[in-house]
Subunit: 317 residues, 6 copies
Amino acid sequence: MLVRHLTDAQDFDAIVLVRDREARRRRDGGESLRLVLGDRTGTVPAVLDDGGADVAALCPVGAPVHVTGRYAVHARHGGRLVLRSLRAAHADEVDWTTLLDGPPRAAAQMEADLRELVSTVQNAHLQALLDAVFGPDAATWHAFRDAPAAKRYHQAYRHGLLEHSLTVAQAVSAISATFPGIDRDVAVTGALLHDIGKLEAYASHPPTIEMTDAGKLQGEISLGYYRVRRLIEDLPGFPEELAAAVLHIILSHHGLLEYGSPVVPCTREATLVHMIDNLGGRLGSFDRLEKELPDGSRWSGYDRALGGGAYFAARAA
Amino acid sequence: MLVRHLTDAQDFDAIVLVRDREARRRRDGGESLRLVLGDRTGTVPAVLDDGGADVAALCPVGAPVHVTGRYAVHARHGGRLVLRSLRAAHADEVDWTTLLDGPPRAAAQMEADLRELVSTVQNAHLQALLDAVFGPDAATWHAFRDAPAAKRYHQAYRHGLLEHSLTVAQAVSAISATFPGIDRDVAVTGALLHDIGKLEAYASHPPTIEMTDAGKLQGEISLGYYRVRRLIEDLPGFPEELAAAVLHIILSHHGLLEYGSPVVPCTREATLVHMIDNLGGRLGSFDRLEKELPDGSRWSGYDRALGGGAYFAARAA
Amino acid sequence: MLVRHLTDAQDFDAIVLVRDREARRRRDGGESLRLVLGDRTGTVPAVLDDGGADVAALCPVGAPVHVTGRYAVHARHGGRLVLRSLRAAHADEVDWTTLLDGPPRAAAQMEADLRELVSTVQNAHLQALLDAVFGPDAATWHAFRDAPAAKRYHQAYRHGLLEHSLTVAQAVSAISATFPGIDRDVAVTGALLHDIGKLEAYASHPPTIEMTDAGKLQGEISLGYYRVRRLIEDLPGFPEELAAAVLHIILSHHGLLEYGSPVVPCTREATLVHMIDNLGGRLGSFDRLEKELPDGSRWSGYDRALGGGAYFAARAA
Amino acid sequence: MLVRHLTDAQDFDAIVLVRDREARRRRDGGESLRLVLGDRTGTVPAVLDDGGADVAALCPVGAPVHVTGRYAVHARHGGRLVLRSLRAAHADEVDWTTLLDGPPRAAAQMEADLRELVSTVQNAHLQALLDAVFGPDAATWHAFRDAPAAKRYHQAYRHGLLEHSLTVAQAVSAISATFPGIDRDVAVTGALLHDIGKLEAYASHPPTIEMTDAGKLQGEISLGYYRVRRLIEDLPGFPEELAAAVLHIILSHHGLLEYGSPVVPCTREATLVHMIDNLGGRLGSFDRLEKELPDGSRWSGYDRALGGGAYFAARAA
Amino acid sequence: MLVRHLTDAQDFDAIVLVRDREARRRRDGGESLRLVLGDRTGTVPAVLDDGGADVAALCPVGAPVHVTGRYAVHARHGGRLVLRSLRAAHADEVDWTTLLDGPPRAAAQMEADLRELVSTVQNAHLQALLDAVFGPDAATWHAFRDAPAAKRYHQAYRHGLLEHSLTVAQAVSAISATFPGIDRDVAVTGALLHDIGKLEAYASHPPTIEMTDAGKLQGEISLGYYRVRRLIEDLPGFPEELAAAVLHIILSHHGLLEYGSPVVPCTREATLVHMIDNLGGRLGSFDRLEKELPDGSRWSGYDRALGGGAYFAARAA
Amino acid sequence: MLVRHLTDAQDFDAIVLVRDREARRRRDGGESLRLVLGDRTGTVPAVLDDGGADVAALCPVGAPVHVTGRYAVHARHGGRLVLRSLRAAHADEVDWTTLLDGPPRAAAQMEADLRELVSTVQNAHLQALLDAVFGPDAATWHAFRDAPAAKRYHQAYRHGLLEHSLTVAQAVSAISATFPGIDRDVAVTGALLHDIGKLEAYASHPPTIEMTDAGKLQGEISLGYYRVRRLIEDLPGFPEELAAAVLHIILSHHGLLEYGSPVVPCTREATLVHMIDNLGGRLGSFDRLEKELPDGSRWSGYDRALGGGAYFAARAA
C-alpha cells in the first residue's frame, strides 16, 4: 500500500514516514495535526483531528509511524488522508526500503561495477588517483558510497552520488569509442571524480539533505577541485599535463560559467563528461517524475530542470 | 605538400583549389591577383603579381590549379604564398580527396554501418518508415548519402549528413542501455531522421554549400517534420502515438526554442537524441579545429560553437 | 448581479458557475465546502459551512448553481461570499451569456465580417486556399468558428479564435496601405491563417480549455504549417513562391525563435502580421484586465504578458 | 546612371557624392586616391591612381564631383570603379535629389498631411500642445520639418523625422478604431510627439548625421520628455492626467527598459504607439534594404534591426 | 519584548502594530481573527479565536494595539502568537521608535552631517543648486528629510532617503581621492541628488509606502531629472557642461538600461555614484536581513537583491 | 615627442617600440615595411618604403628603434607615419618609462603603501597569512610586485597587479567605516589577495602578456583559491571560519557566476571587495581611454568594459 497508488475513498493502513507536520490549536483547546506523510513513491497530506500534544510527541519529522484512515480526493487541492489513528512504528515493523527512495541497483552491485570500471583504466597515475579516492581503504570511500547526488531533482537519496558518478562514467566509457580522439582513461577518471566536491558540499541527515556552509560559501566545484589537486600533489611523479586534464574536467563540468563552472570545457574529454553528466541529470529527472506520476497520468507538471513537462507514453504490454 | 604544414621560406609546388580571388589593377596596367588557395587541411592567402586577365580566366573560384611559389610568414598577418606560376590543373592530375575535406570513414562503409543499424530496429512500423527514407530504392536515399551536414562548424562536406546522422544514432544505440526507460527503437529512428530536413534546407554545389530559400523561409526542422509526417500518412496502420514520438524528436532536437525548436524535448528519447546530437556537433568542432591547427600549436582560436578555444594535449608517443 | 460589482456586506442571489471546489471535513463529521464561483465578469471565493456530501454532489466543477448569501471583504485576502444556500440551477433559468466570457461582437456578425474580408482578396489561389479553410462547407469551418484563441491571457473563450484572427486581419488590411511595398492579399491571408494550428493544439471543453498532446508535443505553429502546406498540395497550380510566402507568415508569426517560431519574419508581410498579432494580444490583455478590475481601481496587478501593471485612466463623462 | 545599377565592365560618367576618401603615397611620390562614392541608391568604392594632392583638394568628404571611369567586379570583394578623371562638380550640374536619399513623399505633401491629421484631434488641450510644437510659427517647426529620423537603419535623411512621425501617427489613427478602448486623440498626439527628443539628440550636417553630447549624455527620450513637459507647464489649464497620458507615451515608446525606456507601456495608447513605431522602424529597414539590393538579388545580408536577412519576392508583372 | 526574539512557549505582553488582518467566520457565528503583528524587528502571525466584530473594529491595519498571549513554534510553518487579549493601545503607551523601523542615526544628526558635507563643495554653482534643494528654506527640504528610500529592500522607512543619499555621498567623498581624475564636487553633488525623483515617485503614509501614479507612469529617474534640470534653468549663469555632468549622474545612476537608466554612465563621476549607490543598496539589504534573522540563524533566505542568501558570521565576543 | 600628440604634417624623430610589423614584397623586388610603432601614450601605424630585408632584421616586434619621418592624416583611416629612416636604438638612448605604459605611482612607493596598509590589520592570523604572501621573503612577493593586472582593459602593465590590489584595498579600507557591520581586517585582507591567482594565470613577457595554460584550463579564481587555502593549511591554528571568510572573497569577487565566480558574494566583506574591484576596473578603463584619447577629442570609442563611450569633460584651467 504505497501512497502513489491511493484512490478516492480508499482505506489506508500502513507504516509511513513523517515528512512534515504542523499543530493547530482548536477552539476547545485540543489540537488538530496537519501532517505530510510519505514513502518512497511520494508524499500525501494528512490530518488528524483528535491529535493532542501527546500524539504530536510521537511523530517528529523523519520518524516512521503507523497510521490508519481513509483517503479522499478534492477537486482542486487533490487528495488527503483523514486519519483515524497514529502511533510510533516499532523498529521491527519498519521496512526502510519502502519508505526511502533509493537507487534501482543495490549499493553492493554498484560498488562491484565501479571497481570493475576502475580496473579498466590503463594509466598507472590515474589508477593511483582513483585508488586514493575510491580504494576500499581510502578515507573518503565510505562517505562517497553513502552520499546523495543532490538535494532534489535527481538521485537525492543514499548512494545517489555513487549511482550518478558510476552511470555517467559507464556511459562515457561506452560512448568514447564512437567519437574519435578521446582519451578514454582521462574521460572515465574525470567522470568518476566530477562530483567529488559534493562530499563536503552536502550534509545528509536522512531523510533531509542540506547544503553545508562550505558548500554555500565555496561551491561544490571548488571543493572537489581542491581535494583532487591536493591528492595529486602527494602522488609522486604525477604528470602535470595529466593533472591539468583531470582538474579541467572537474572545473568545467557544469558547462557554462552561469552554471557555476569557472571555465568552460575546452578539451574533448571535458566536453564529453559535461554533456553526459547533463544527460544523466535530465534522464534522472524523468525517473523521478515517473515515480511521482499519479496512476493514469501521462504528463508531469512543469519541471524546472527540463524546462517543461515530461511525457510518458504508454508502453506496449 | 598540404597547406597546413607550410613553414616559413618553404618552396611550394602543388595542385590546390581556388577558394577566393580578387584582381587589383596596377599602375602600369597589369594586374595583381590576390587568391585564397586551399586543400582539405585548410586555406592560405596567395598573391601573383604578374597575373593579367589571361591568367585570371584560368582560375574561377572552385577550380583546381597547379601553382609554384614560396611561402613567407609575416609577424602580424601570418603566412602568404608568393606565386611564381599558376595554371589550370589537368583533370588527370587532380586528386580530389586531398583537395576537399571529407569524412574519415568511406561512404560505402558508412552505408553498410547504417544498414546494419537499421536492421536492429525491431518495430515493423519504424522499419517501414526507415525503409521509405533510407531504402536503396527510396527517392531520398542518394541525396541523403551525398548531402553535407552543415555550412560550416562540423561535417560541412559531402557525406557529412550521413556521417553525422549515423554517428549520433550509433552513440544513441550504445548508450540507450545505460539509462533505464528508453525505447531504443524510437530513439535510434529519431536519431537517424533528426536532420532529414537538411536535404531541402541546403544546396550543395561543391565546394560551396548554400542555404536554400526553403531553408531560410521555413527552417530545416519544419521541412524535416513535414517530410516525415507526410511519409507516415502513407504508411498504413502507423500508430498515432508512435508517429508523435518520432515527430517530437525531430521537432525538439535543437533542445531550446531559441535554437529553433518549436518545442522542447519532453520524452526520454527526444532528450537523448538532442543531447547526443549536441555532443556530436561539439566533438565535430574539435575535429575541424584540430585539422586546422598549425603545427606546434596547442590552442585553437576562439570558437563560437564551443564558447572558447579548444585545447589539444600532446599525445604520448 | 455580477461578481465584479460586489461590495462589502452586500446580499447576493444569482446563478453562477462552479469554477473550483474543495470539501473540508469538520470535527463534527459535517463538511465545509470551499468554492470558487464565477460569471463572465470574474470569480469570487465562497464558503458553505453546512454543505455535506449531498450538497457537494450538486456542484461539480463547471456546473451552474443557484446561490444565496452575503459578500464580505477582508483587509488582506479580499472578498468572499458566505453562502446560505446552494442548489443546482435548472436549465431554463441559466443565461450562459452572463456566465461565460465571450467576444464583444456576436459570432454571426464576425462570420459576416470574415466573409466580407475574404471576398476582398483578389488572388485566385489565395481565394481557393481561404475557401478550403473557411468556406461554409470546409471541414474545419465549424471547429474554427467555435474555437478559443488561448488558454488564458486574451480571447480564452468560445469564438475567440475567430475574433482574434478576424481582428488581426482587419487591422492588417487597414494598415497595409499606410506602408509601401506590402502585398495586401498575402498579408490578409496570412493573418487569417496564422493561428490555424490552434484547432489541433487546444481542446475546448467549456468552461475549461486544455492543450492537447499534439499541441504539447508538436506545437501549434508546426500543426498549422502542416495543415496549410498539406491543403496547398491539393490545390492545382498553386505557385510555389506564393505558398512559401503564406507558410513563412505562419511559421514566423511569433517573431522570435525563443517564442516558438522556427524562423524569424523576413518579409514585409510576415513582419506586419507578427507585429499586429502581438499588438492584438497585448490590447486583448488590457480588455481582460479591465473586465477584472475592481470598481474604483485604476491599476491592475502585475501582468506577465504586459511586463507590468495596466493603467486605466478615468474616462470623461 | 545610378550606382546600384552598375554591372561588370560598364563605363561610368556621372555626378556623385564623395562619401569617404583616403590618399596613399606611391613610391614615385604621386598619390593613389581611394574613394567611396555614392548617390541615393547606395555607395561604391573607387580608385584614382594618378590623383595627386591637387586632385585631392577637389574632393572633401561630402562634396559632389564629376567622375568618369569603368566599373569592374571582383569575385570576393565585389565591384569597384577605376576612375579616369575626377573634378569638382559645378553647382548648376548637381541634382541633389539623385545624390541624397530622402523620403518617397515630398516634404510639402507631408506637411499638408500632418496639418490635416492634427486638425482631426478634437481635444482642445492637445490641439494647443500640438500647435506649440508643429504650428507654422512654433520655434521647433522648421527644425522638425528638416530633421532626420536616425543615424542609420531607417529614414536617416532630411525630412526623415517628419516622415516617420507622420507615418506612425497615420497608422495609429487608421488602426485605433479596430481595437476597442483606445483614446484616439491621445494616441495620435503621442505618435506625433514620440520622437521629438531627436531634435536635440541628433545634429544633421548633410550628408553626415551625428549624435550630440546631449543626445549621448541624456538620451533622446529624456530630452523629448523634458521639452513636452516644459511646454505643457506653460499651457494654462492643461489637465494633469492628460499630461501624464502623453508623457507616458513618450517615455515608454521604446517598449522595454533595455531599449532605453525608463518605464514600459502601461496604457493602451502607449502600447499602440510603441508597437506601431516598432513596426514602422522594421518596415523602414525593408525599404532601405530594398534600395540597396543589387539587381537580381532576392535576399539582403544579415540586418541587425531585423535579426536576419530580408527577402524580397519577385513581383508579378 | 521584540518579536524577533520570541522563542517557543514564551508568554508575550506588548504594544505592537497591526500589519495585516483577516476575519474568519466560525460555525457558531463568532469570528476568528488572523493577524500579522509587528514591531521594528519584524513581524509575527497571530490568531485570536474569540475576536468578534467588536474586537475587529479596534485593530485597523496600521494601528498600535496591546496584546497578550503565548508564542508557539510549529515544525513547518514557524511560530505563531496565540492571543488571549487584544485592545487598542493608548497614545501615551505607544513608543513609535520600537514599532517602526528607522535609520540607526538620528535625523538631526544626519541633517548636520548633510550640511557639513554640502559645505565642502567648492563650486559656487553647485552650491547654489544644492541650496535650492536642501537649503533649510527650500520647498523640498522637509519632504526630502522625511521620505523613505524604497518600498522595501533597503531603507524603506522615514528618513531613509536622507540616510541613503547622505551615506552614498559620504562614501563617494571618502573614496574620490583614492582614484585619479574624479571631480569631487560634481560627484558629491550627483550623489546627494541622485534619488531626488523619489520625492514624487513614492507616497509615504506610514506604515505603508506606495508608488504614485507619476512614479509608475514616468519613473523616478525621469522625475528627478526634470526637477533638477528645471531648477538649474532658474539659476543664472549655471554652466551648460556642469549641468550636463550632474544630470548625467541622475539619469545613469541605475547603471544599465534594463534597470531603468535611459543612458549608461559614461563619466568617471557617474560611474562612481552608480557603483557606490549599488554598493549602498546591497549593504542595506544585509542590514535589513540581519535585523530579521531569527536568533541562532547564520543564513538568511534567498534574497532577490543579493541573488542568494546572506551569511552572517559569528562575531568574536 | 609622444605619439598621442602627433598632428597632421608634423616631422617626427624619436625612439619608439615596434609593436607589430609586416613586410610586403614590391614589384621591383624590394620590400615595403608596414609597422605599428608605439610608446606609453599609444600606437601609430607607419610605413617604410625602402626597407628591405636588412632593415627588417633590425626591428623584431618588441624592439626599441630610432625613426625619423613625417606624420600625415587621412580622412577615413586616420594618421600614419611615413618613415625616412629606421635603425635599432642603442641601449643608452632608450628611456623605457616613455616607451611602456605603467602605473602613475612608483613601485617602491606602492610597496611602502602596501606594507603600511598591511600593518593596520589587527588580526594575527590574517597578519600571518598576508606575511606568507607579501612578506619581503615570501616566495611570491617579487612575482606579485612585477605582475600585470590584466591582458588589456586596465593596468595591463608591469606592477599593475600591485597597483590594482593596493588601490582596491585602500578604497575598501577608506569606505569600511562608512557602512556598518563590516569586518575591516577580513575585507582588507580579501581585497589584497583577491587577484592573487593572476600570478599563475598570466605570463608576462614585456611587452606582451599572455594567459597561461593553467589560466585557461583552471581559471584565475580557482588558482588563487587553491594557493591561499593551501597556505592557510600550513598556518597553525588558523580559525576555520576566518579561512572561509577570506576564501569566499576570492571565490566570489567577480560577483556573478557568468563572470566566472563559482559562488556569489554572500557576506558584507565579499560584497564590498567585489563592488570596489569592479569600480576600480571601470575607473581604470577611463584612465586607459583618456591616455589614448586624441588631442581635441572628448569621447572615446565604444568600450566593451563600459558598455558605451567614455566622455571626458574639459577641465577648468
